[in-house]
Amino acid sequence: MADKKQRINLRDRGAEYWERSPKWRRVAMAIFFIAVCYALPFLNNPLINTPGSDFQSVLFYPVGMYVLMAIGLNIVVGKSGLLDLGYVAFFAIGAYTMAILGTKTALNFWEIMPIGIGLAMLSGVLLGTPTLRLRGDYLAIVTLGFGEIVRIFAVNTDSIGGSRGIAGIPTPPDIFKAKFTILDPKPYYWVLLTFTLLVIWMVRRMAARRPGRAWDAIRQDDDVAQLMGIDTRKYKVWAFVLGAAVAGMGGVIYASQILSIVPDQFNLNISILILACVVFGGIGNVWGVILGAVLLAFTPERIRFLSQPRILVFGIALVVMMNLRPDGILPKKKREHFDPDWHTVEESGEGQTK
């Protein structure tokens, strides 16, 4: 059978290459890839330079942050099929936790991080549990409402800064020689990257196993999933909670870099932007999502004229993607024959039956 355009098979080609590689090669490739990511801030090439903003700062926000958030939202929307339009709320909760605890207590960034994640997760439970039974479109509106309510609440509550927000958020404590200041985004970027890699690792493990299968089943046919013995309630709440945790994580890091936050920053547009990244990535496909996030975050920075109507471009992109390429940029290829060596269950190469 003739291969179609190169681009369509990229993901599966990559996946097949990965699966067929012996362990040492996989480790080498992984290390190389990770090393490149860490080295990115030192890249100084006119091709990728971003006029108007410092490249290193762009790497941190929006590129790095969108990538992290997109991975989180992917669990909810991409894999589980739960259309969450209020994702920014969890990001806001993380950011506000950092802001409030940072300015009002002596806790530092690392101590606040688990609290921020915890509060975001709790909100995930609070939002997820009552909305479980809602169908797609209703869930979308309700989550959108949740996102807006969080923002309106923040604007109208003076004890947490009201519409002026919170300023004077402390930076994280130095790590060895690395100082976290507003002038140098590099240490922030590396912290963000480290957390992102951790999240990717976790997500891939879940996706390849039972939770991933359960989420796929729920997305495709919730009723039948239940009849196949899946506790859909539990897994849906988990999806919300995990997605919220990731966003909360991002929020804490974001606040500690930007050092002052206002509630109107955490608006619907951000939820939509992250959603666009997930949509570009296709259903539940981590790499596609990352690619989508990088493209959508980076391109408006690189091409200045796109920056002003950025959101308009996103909107149009959403419509175009859904109509022309609903499976995302890197869709799954239809495999015509079964190779048992291909379909391993774990990265470690275990689980093959031949």
């Binding site: 039972r210 999933a225 190779d339 275990e350």
Partner: protein, 258 residues
């Protein structure tokens, strides 16, 4: 009593003004193949839906292995040991055949989200066990070569077989098959009949909805006939075949519906 895997006791199912099932009583004995037949609209799929917890009966009880399961959550009922296939195929089309079946096999894993993240020894064991079982079942149903293909791309017959494999993966004590031979040609129906018998011989109990009389007569031990939501006959294939009420309900000759 312990002989009966499933008992429907005085099941009545009303939807607004419509009575889909009217005081239906039936019993499925351990290790048998029981066929549920009747003209279209008789309520056969409704019976399946009541058993699997999709509908809560207006009145009556469903007793599975001695305990009542009415009002229990659907996934719990599946965990207890009831699995089914669907009249209109309901596969996970975007997932591969293998993934479909492994999803069924997951029912008996105890690994949760946390276990999956950390890769505990138990999670690895269960993962391997589920995968092995899935491949076994795909082989059993004769579709091992389709393992990597997406559910929606499989030919029709293989989709039906895949649904059965997926249901079997949950290791049910009672397997409900809803028109598994719909759309099959005669040769395929015979093969399916053999497979159903083999499934029973492996130790499963089967409750089967079908329209094809020769398939039913060839495979079933007993037959229950529904018409307009009421049970009108219950007995061995011979008894039911000759029952005048059954003949009347079908207007004469049993048709070979395809």
């Amino acid at each position: 009593m312990s002989e009966n895997v499933l008992e429907l006791q005085n099941i009545t199912m009303k939807f607004g003004g419509v009575t889909a099932l009217n005081d239906v009583n039936l019993v499925v004995k351990k290790g048998e193949i029981l066929a549920l037949i009747g003209p279209n609209g008789a309520g056969k799929t409704t019976v399946f839906n009541v058993i699997t917890g999709v509908y809560k009966p207006t009145s009556g009880d469903v007793v599975f292995q001695g305990s009542s399961i009415v009002g229990k959550k659907r996934f719990k009922i599946t965990k207890l040991g009831i699995a089914r296939t669907f009249q209109n195929i309901r596969l996970f089309g975007e997932s591969s055949a293998l993934e479909n079946v492994v999803t069924g096999a997951d029912v008996h894993s105890k690994t949760g989200v946390i276990g999956s993240i950390f890769g505990t020894p138990r999670s690895r064991r269960e993962e391997k066990a589920a995968l092995d079982r899935a491949l076994e079942l795909l082989d059993f149903m004769g579709i091992k070569k389709r393992a990597g293909q997406l559910g929606k791309n499989l030919p029709y017959g293989d989709q039906r077989r895949l649904e059965i494999a997926r249901a079997l993966a949950t290791n049910p004590k009672l397997l409900l098959l809803d028109e598994p031979a719909a759309g099959f040609n005669p040769a395929e129906k015979v093969a399916l009949g053999e497979t159903i018998k083999r499934i029973r011989d492996t130790g499963y109990t089967v409750l089967l909805i079908e329209h094809d009389m020769s398939l039913i007569m060839g495979v079933s031990d007993r037959v229950v006939v529904l018409d307009f939501g009421t049970k009108i006959a219950d007995g061995t294939t011979k008894e039911v075949q000759n029952d005048p009420r059954v003949i009347e309900a079908y207007l004469g000759a049993p048709a070979d519906a395809s």
